[in-house]
């Protein structure tokens, strides 16, 4: 096996571990023939936990849902037809958003086609409904029924109409019948979860690699803020602020990412050349990064961004999936290929498994560590750009404590803090588990103090579960 050399250092064959044919062997080498499905299958426990959580929150958020749009409009028109004779005057009430426009249009069309009179179609706020009712009274016209969707039916204005508008007499409000479905399983919500975790999951790719090498990177949270501040500052100062072009913004964002990559590289240099523990180096860089972010921004948020800046964080260019989620999935795929099929991946595992052995077998340890920390910095920078895009502004207080959530995602995903083992897709599952728990607790109305306790226990539980699973696995391996 030829080792593509990443540094000029030749394999120190004479003292290294060599197998029978004189080839260097790598400790804890990846099992061959890995593919996505096998990998997911080996993460079966975590996937199962994720599904279990999903099922639990689906059950907990089982709630009445309101039909929307055209279907709801037709349904409400048919309800009116059942209880009111032809020629009745109907007021259609809806909010001024596109979904409600479809509702109002469909209700109006269906009612008219069936011989009902439309008093007025309200598309707006409760105050518009009040004005419409007043106009009907002023014009000495009656209103027999109000066709509302579930949102407008809840307007306080439509309660006790008899006392508020005695001139109208007894007006009934008809709204579509509800059906049941878990809030958790709504498409919008599932996309929310993916979008909410995208930043943490992207950074967790770099963190997984760092942790597999036996290190840690505490600076990623601060680098989110730094990159967000640098990118937005470049856009306001150099790319024309609100008039910035997509091309200009891309370069500004790359600037932010490059800055973080440079800080990551610097951490790597400190760790490799001076053998300072990664914990200390990245702790220092966490302060440096945060301080720089505050310095550059002077403590203020930078918000003179063009509307198009939100494309990355909130836009949907592909099948309604947020771009940040697409980016996350693509990065995971690339990282998976790197970690399982490329020599860099094998080196990363080797360095974490046994650094000395790896060095002796010719793994360019220094280069591997430099690459990994630079990558971690760059991905944190990318996370910062995505955050800035989601919030359409940059601020030095972004990303506080995120390093802990990122590490939690990696650990819940089954990567050992001792280094040498872990899986990229495990981290994605770990991130999704954390996002699902947070989202589920928000949807079920668990208050925030309790949320923290639960999240802490979940992280502990996941590691415990992993430990127990591993013990069993190791025993099994020994027998084999």
């Amino acid at each position: 096996m030829a080792l593509p050399s990443l540094s000029s250092q030749p394999p120190t064959g004479s003292t290294g571990q060599l197998d029978g044919e004189g080839k260097p062997t790598l400790p804890r080498k990846q099992r061959s023939g890995s593919n996505v499905f096998k990998r997911l299958a080996s993460d079966y426990g975590m996937v199962f936990a994720l599904l279990l959580l999903g099922a639990f929150f689906s059950w907990q958020t089982w709630a009445p849902q309101q039909p929307v749009g055209t279907g709801a409009g037709e349904q409400v028109a048919n309800l009116v037809r059942k209880s009111f004779p032809k020629g009745s005057r109907v007021l259609v009430a809806a909010r001024g958003i596109p979904e409600d426009h479809a509702f109002a249009t469909a209700a109006e069309r269906t009612l008219k086609a069936n011989g009902y009179e439309i008093a007025e179609v309200v598309r707006g706020a409760p105050i518009d409904a009040r004005h419409a009712l007043q106009r009907a009274i002023d014009g000495k016209q009656k209103v027999d029924v109000i066709a509302a969707n579930s949102a407008s039916a809840g307007w306080v204005i439509f309660q006790n109409l008899g006392t508020k508008f005695p001139a109208l007499g007894n007006v009934l409000v008809v709204s579509p019948t509800t059906y049941h479905w878990p809030n958790f399983l709504k498409t919008d919500n599932l996309l929310n979860i993916a979008n909410q975790i995208a930043v943490i999951a992207i950074i967790a790719i770099g963190m997984t690699m760092v942790i597999i090498t036996g290190g840690i990177d505490l600076s990623v949270g601060s680098l989110i803020a730094l990159s967000a501040v640098v990118a937005t500052l470049f856009i306001t100062k150099a790319a024309g602020a609100e008039a910035a072009s997509a091309f200009g913004m891309t370069w500004c964002c790359l600037g932010g990412i490059a800055m973080c990559a440079a800080l990551g590289f610097f951490s790597g240099v400190m760790i490799t050349l001076f053998s300072i523990p990664p914990f200390i180096v990245t702790l220092a860089m966490m302060l440096v990064g945060s301080g720089l972010a505050y310095l550059f921004s002077q403590g203020q948020s930078i918000y003179q961004m063009p509307e198009s800046f939100v494309w990355l964080g909130r836009g949907t260019a592909f099948a309604g999936i947020p771009n940040s989620v697409v980016l996350m999935l693509v990065l995971y795929l690339i990282a998976h290929i790197v970690m399982s099929n490329m020599s860099l991946g094998r080196y990363i595992y080797a360095v974490g498994g046994n650094r000395e052995a790896a060095r002796l077998s010719g793994v360019p340890v220094v280069a591997v560590l430099l690459i990994v920390y630079t990558l971690s910095g760059a991905l944190a920078g990318l996370g910062g750009v995505v955050t800035a895009s989601q919030l359409k502004s940059g601020s030095p207080n972004y990303g506080q404590m995120y390093e802990l959530y990122v590490i939690a995602a990696v650990v819940v995903g089954g990567t050992s803090l001792a280094g040498g083992e872990g899986k990229i897709f495990g981290t994605l599952i770990g991130a999704l588990i954390i996002a699902t728990i947070q989202n589920g607790m928000n949807l079920t109305g668990v208050e925030s103090y309790t949320q923290k306790v639960v999240l802490g226990l979940v992280i502990l539980g996941a590691v415990l579960f992993d430990r127990l699973k591993h013990r069993g696995l190791f025993r099994f391996r020994r027998k084999a």
Partner: protein
């Protein structure tokens, strides 16, 4: 909700809404806008009738509010306003911080008998605090025009709005201004941090403190004579006012864009009468 002020707003919203048979989901963003944005997205999925926000960042919260706008959910802000011109907020309810700052200046001149050197423990990152110090400085300038009055601001430093940082900053201020007579701290935690530093330096009797807020701990300190006075805020009124406005809105009435709740000066005599401190 780490700050009891926000907790009281939320509790009063909950109480007032219950009277209308509405239920309230209260979440805390812990001053993290990204987290707050996610919480708003979760509210949108749940199709709530209205959202009340204390923005974690006046500018960065804009996109989240616009998302609620697009979902047809009315948004109200309490205490902290949104400064995004494109985000539609139905109404904003807050303390009249400018007037509160002016009251603080009145109390300061009263405490010092019209003469002395004062320091301001600032927290300029927050819009409402900027108004407090502005009101304080404006009113002080007015009062100084009266013959015999001469209260000078000799230092204005950021205390971070928290006890620990204000403690350190106050220690430094005493070093550079040993002749200090008064401190205006922009909230109770800063005032209490300053008090600790003054006690440490044996200057507690020499330097009078004016705080802001009227949190239970602050009120207790006023009662014990450790803080001279606070312009106090009424988070309970903010909470119940927001709910009142929500129902006015849903009932199809015009709603005032901004409602300011007045502060009131709270001195030691008020503390002695205060039943909540017994």
């Amino acid at each position: 909700m780490n700050n009891p002020f926000f907790k009281e707003i939320a509790d009063n919203i909950e109480m007032a809404a219950k009277a209308h048979n509405y239920s309230v989901i209260a979440t805390s963003a812990d001053f993290d806008v990204a987290k707050q944005q996610n919480q708003i997205k979760d509210f949108i999925v749940k199709k709530v009738s209205a959202i009340v926000l204390c923005p974690a960042d006046s500018k960065a919260i804009g996109p989240a509010i616009r998302e609620a706008n697009a979902a047809g959910i009315p948004v109200f802000t309490a205490d902290i306003a949104s400064l995004d011109p494109q985000a539609k907020v139905v109404a904003h309810v807050a303390t009249n911080n400018l007037e509160g700052g002016r009251m603080a200046a009145d109390a300061m001149v009263e405490a010092l008998g019209g003469k002395g050197n004062v320091a301001i423990l600032d927290h300029p990152e927050v819009e409402s605090v900027l108004l407090r110090t502005k009101g304080f400085e404006e009113r002080l300038a007015e009062l100084n025009k009266k013959p015999g009055n001469d209260v000078k601001v000799v230092a204005k430093l950021a205390g971070g709005g928290d006890k620990a940082k204000s403690f350190k900053v106050m220690q430094d201020i005493i070093q550079s201004h040993p002749d200090l007579n008064g401190v205006f701290a922009i909230n109770d935690p800063s005032a209490l941090g300053a008090r600790a530093a003054l006690e440490n330096a044996g200057k507690a009797a020499q330097v009078k403190i004016i705080g802001f807020d009227g949190q239970p701990e602050g009120k207790k300190a006023i009662k014990d004579g450790k803080i001279y006075a606070d312009p106090i805020q009424f988070p309970d009124k903010i909470g119940s006012k927001v709910v009142e406005l929500i129902f006015q809105y849903l009932d199809g009435n015009e709603v005032a864009k901004q409602t300011l709740i007045q502060t009131a000066l709270y001195r030691q005599a008020d503390g002695a009468k205060d039943a909540s401190l017994k």
